[in-house]
Symmetry: C2
């Protein structure tokens, strides 16, 4: 809800009530809660749509591709979608950064998406859903994306989001090896 984002951006999360948001959006407060389960949800958007399609895309890719490469490729459409709504997302990220109380809600939504990811990764790797690897991989992927988006937003979207995601996945792929300050990848 655009109205909500703008209000909260201006005044901060706890200086804005649901009543005010509703009024700005020309609906009753009761209708607000028909659309959003919580006040926070109005600011975070709807990642569920992304979650399912991400899973499908990942499963559609040839199985011999390295996992990280496959993840990156499966993510591309979602990333482009975000890039296409750049201003909305920059606003959203700014609101998130300025209202740390929202972070939990953001993670909650991400967790939903990660559940699907676990299944997909398990299928790809032939491991069980209960194994460590799929669970950890999904969690780390989510964490990497979140970090990338935070950094992207920090630059006001000057360079494309995909660059940040690619960089993060690079580290993810090679492991937390110590980078040199000029951080070339995996000198060997």
């Amino acid at each position: 809800m655009m109205a909500a984002l703008r209000l909260v951006d201006e005044r901060g999360l706890d200086r804005v009530t649901v009543d005010e948001i509703s009024e700005a959006a020309d609906v009753s407060p009761r209708t607000f809660f028909n659309y959003f389960a919580t006040k926070d949800d109005a600011l975070i958007g709807d990642p569920v749509h992304d979650a399912a399609s991400l899973r499908d895309r990942l499963l559609a890719l040839p199985g011999d591709r390295p996992l990280v490469a496959a993840l990156l490729e499966a993510l591309t459409p979602s990333i482009e979608e975000i890039q296409a709504e750049r201003d909305l997302w920059l606003l959203r990220m700014r609101v998130l950064k300025n209202n740390a109380q929202l972070l939990p809600a953001l993670v909650a939504h991400g967790t939903q998406a990660e559940e699907d990811l676990i299944t997909a990764i398990a299928a790809r790797t032939g491991l069980s859903r209960d194994d460590l690897f799929p669970q950890l991989a999904a969690t780390l992927t989510g964490a990497a994306i979140r970090t990338a988006m935070m950094r992207w937003a920090g630059t006001e979207g000057h360079s494309p989001l995909s660059d940040f995601v690619r960089e993060a996945f690079g580290i993810l792929a090679t492991g937390l090896a110590e980078p040199t300050p000029s951080h070339q990848k995996a000198p060997r």
Copy 2:
């Protein structure tokens, strides 16, 4: 607050009110909120204490040790502390698993700890706090720990938590390379 955990374990988070918890703990509801900022906080505990000391321990370790090894070593006391209060933590994790609504709150607290971690990792690696690596490394570390604890709790604490953490950090160190089902490390 032990009373809170037990009640919520029995009935579920939204079948227990703050009033009931307060009564079980023999304090007034108002006093409850003097101790815990929110109802959720009473269930999650106080990770802040851990956060600062983790940072200190990490900085005290010799700088030439690989990052992941250093992290693991710095974490050991915290892990032992959890292991020592095994029953409390297993109860807590069970409550978390059965009340997914709490997961966000858990992560929020972790985020606080991760802030400190970013600084420590940046100092260790000689990178800036604003670089990708420290931010990502801290986030991934948090995610790995959380995943390890979830899995540990899933086994009813049968094997020690440190095993799970070590395993997760192993993957973290070598990167998300595809493991074989018997997951030897990085066959090359």
